[in-house]
């Protein structure tokens, strides 16, 4: 009898709801965001009733330049939660946003968002290009994550390695989607580019400073990483 009862009790006991992949859009650090694009949080396997009350502060957006919260509507469509700003985004502004805890109803639908979704993310409606991150992809290829999508390099790019000027050589431009082909396509509309320097030889731990056009210089101590992991982190994906 015990062989029957114990499994039944174990099955009856609580089990964490399964969640699939999570993504946010736009990617953390993205600039040049279109004024009418909503913020999106995708949670694979999200199962909530269509009219489930998410609460007004489930997604909170702060206008960094002017200060204060941005008013908007929170919509739930399938497994995507969107924030639509009232009147759209203001041009030339920087914003920071975060996903809050899903309200827990007593005796109601339950869903627990993965930890990866929590934390602040930045985006801007400015056209400025910034270097967001420099990594040593697979311990050999120096790559810079840029704040917006580029089709071609029109700016002058220079660098110093441990404070010594270096020749960067040809720059290879990649789109974010090359590493995140498994992301929902609609979430990659607001994507960024990655610039890689195949002829730049830089050891792990070296200090690289990069000047990209008129953007402020960006300095980083090179560390081995996988570009996909870096981009996944900026997408709050898992």
């Amino acid at each position: 009898m015990r062989h029957i009862v114990l499994p039944l009790l174990l099955i009856a006991c609580r089990a964490e709801p399964e969640t699939g992949e999570t993504w946010i859009s736009p990617v953390d650090g993205k600039s040049d965001v279109l004024l009418d694009v909503p913020l999106r949080v995708h949670v694979g396997g999200l199962q909530l009733p269509p009219d489930y009350p998410l609460g007004d502060d489930f997604i909170r957006v702060v206008d960094i330049d002017r200060g204060g919260f941005v008013e908007g509507r929170i919509l739930l469509e399938g497994d995507v939660v969107s924030f639509v700003p009232d009147g759209g985004w203001e041009p030339g502004r920087r914003y920071v946003w975060s996903v809050g805890e899903l309200p827990t109803l007593e005796r109601g639908p339950e869903h627990f968002f993965p930890e990866s979704l929590y934390g602040e993310a930045l985006f801007a409606t400015t056209h400025e290009l910034e270097v967001l991150e420099i990594v040593l992809h697979h311990d050999s290829l120096v790559c810079a994550v840029l704040s917006r999508d580029l089709d071609a390099i029109t700016d002058t790019v220079t660098a110093t390695l441990d404070d010594h000027p270096v020749e960067l050589g040809p720059v290879m431009l990649h789109h974010e989607v090359e590493w995140l082909a498994d992301a929902p396509p609609e979430l990659l509309e607001q994507s960024v580019s990655v610039a890689c320097f195949p002829e730049l030889e830089a050891p792990d731990g070296a200090s690289l400073r990069l000047w990209w056009g008129e953007a402020p210089s960006f300095q980083a101590r090179l560390e081995g990483a996988d570009l996909r992991d870096v981009l996944i982190g900026r997408r709050r994906a898992r």
Binding site: L8, L9, I11, A12, C13, R14, A15, E16, P17, Q47, L48, P49, D51, Y52, P53, L54, G55, P103, T104, L105, E106, R107, G108, P109, E110, H111, F112
Partner: protein, 284 residues
């Protein structure tokens, strides 16, 4: 002397058949006799339902109190009972907390149809009252994404259970009932509910009429159900019949499994809630 005794015995034997009709009711009265009216209220609890008895209606209310409280269910019920079958219908109305404020909605409509029969008891006692049939529920259009305890009561869905219930008049003033069920259910597939689940359950009930006050009785019930939001629960009720055909009940349901964390719900409740229960039943 012997001949006298034999003569008396023969005479008694000859008179005996004639004496039986004389002791029985007159033929005219026998034709008017009706079966005894059944007890209008067959003992019932929370999971063990009233099977048999007479026709009637009921209204009940149950409310969760404590840290996990706020859900309140009012249930309207009606039943029709004949000698061989019993039909019942119940409709719960839910009021519950939601992020946007308090909401009210229709729960699942319950239909129960049972065939009733009697068999001699196992232990040499009187007749045991058996009932076998179906209890089914479906959602008439509400979307109360909540629950009180039963998985099939409020949360939108549909399903049916095959049920078997036995009522044993164990002793004077003491009744015992057991109920078993097995079935399949579909529900809106949002956590913590699975889209499709099987249910198997058993419940036992003891109803004791107080010797000093026959209108008052105590009811205790224990139920196990899987899959359910409340897999193990105890119910304690006091019943009172103020007048013939009216029964009032009040008590509490103790969600033992929820207290122990043996529930599919993610919320950690602990020993901080119970459900109060009140109802009124009328029998015609």
């Amino acid at each position: 002397m012997i001949a006298l005794l034999v003569a008396v015995a023969v005479a008694h034997a000859a008179e005996a058949p004639a004496a039986e009709p004389a002791a029985a009711a007159p033929p005219a009265q026998a034709a008017k006799a009706t079966p005894p009216r059944p007890d209008p209220f067959v003992p019932s609890g929370n999971r063990v339902t009233q099977v048999g008895g007479t026709h009637g209606v009921s209204i009940g209310t149950a409310a969760v109190v404590g840290a996990g409280g706020g859900t309140h269910v009012t249930t309207l019920g009606a039943r029709y009972a004949d000698r061989d079958f019993s039909v019942a219908v119940r409709l719960p109305l839910a009021a519950y907390r939601a992020t946007g404020g308090r909401q009210t909605d229709l729960g699942n409509l319950f239909l129960e149809g049972l065939y009733l029969f009697e068999r001699p008891g196992l232990f040499g006692g009187g007749e045991w009252h058996h009932a076998v049939g179906i209890e089914a529920h479906f959602n008439p259009g509400g979307t109360p994404y909540t629950w009180l305890h039963r998985a099939d009561e409020l949360w939108p869905g549909m399903g049916a259970n095959l049920v078997y219930q036995i009522h044993v008049p164990a002793a004077a003033g003491l009744d015992v009932s057991v109920r078993g069920l097995v079935g399949m259910h579909a529900a809106r597939d949002y956590e913590p509910y699975p889209g499709l689940f099987a249910q198997i359950g058993a419940a036992g009930l003891v109803d004791w009429t107080l010797p000093v006050a026959s209108q008052v009785g105590l009811v205790g019930e224990m139920a196990f159900t899987y899959w359910d939001l409340s897999p193990w629960e105890l119910t304690a009720l006091v019943r009172f019949d103020p007048v013939a055909g009216v029964r009032l009940r009040g008590g509490a349901l103790l969600p033992m499994a929820s207290w122990l964390g043996w529930t599919p719900s993610q919320l950690d409740r602990g020993l901080d809630e119970l459900t109060l229960h009140l109802d009124a039943q009328m029998a015609f």
